[in-house]
Symmetry: C2
């Protein structure tokens, strides 16, 4: 577990992963909107995720001056972790901005919610 946490066990990396899953953010300038993240930290974390096979980085077909980040299959397996953290935050922190509908449904139909998100991201991130 300590090896896993060396890769993604910090607040910023987990917020970047949240952005992929909930907001469908895929570009550097979208991740920059994460509260108080510095571009240095963002670059460092994205590179660490690429180095560890969690993300791929490619030239964006829709804008050749920009890069598109995608989750890999290994990255897709981080989704349950991110959803569990999101769910805990929705239930146990005050003044959070989590979607109450999402969290209620996750409580009841965890497996289905997970499967839907994974299937959607498999398509949009072109994961085979």
């Amino acid at each position: 577990m300590s090896l896993a946490l060396e890769i993604f066990g910090d607040k910023w990396t987990l917020l970047i992963l949240r952005d992929f899953i909930f907001f469908e953010n895929r570009h550097f300038n979208e991740f920059v909107t994460i509260e108080n993240i510095s571009t240095n930290i963002l670059t460092d974390r994205l590179n660490r995720l690429i180095k560890n096979g969690i993300l791929r980085k490619e030239i964006d077909n829709n804008n050749s001056s920009s890069f598109l980040y995608s989750l890999t299959k290994k990255g897709l397996h981080l989704i349950p972790i991110v959803l569990e953290i999101y769910h805990w935050g929705a239930n146990f922190t005050k003044d959070n901005n989590a979607e109450p509908d999402f969290s209620n449904r996750f409580e009841k139909e965890k497996r289905d919610v997970l499967q839907e998100i994974i299937e959607k991201l498999k398509t949009t991130h072109n994961i085979v």
Copy 2:
């Protein structure tokens, strides 16, 4: 989610929580065995968990010169997060020391495994 990660979104806190769940560690001098953790960081993280209602700290009935740390009900709800991280580490890191039997069973019977661990900890940590 960012509020949740302010509380436990770092490697050391998640390793402390792992110790509660997998190794049944409850004392300061047991947590100190976490790889490379300094006593300063350990004190800081335990205090943060207490302040946020994840842990309780009481004089140990079996040794009045020592403190016993317990998970609260709110802390118990962090178990799914820790198990998902453990499971990912078992599957996607090399040379990890995760229990293969545990991880295989978690894959197949997630809900039962969770429930068993929660019931056990409810008793040992005296959570009502």
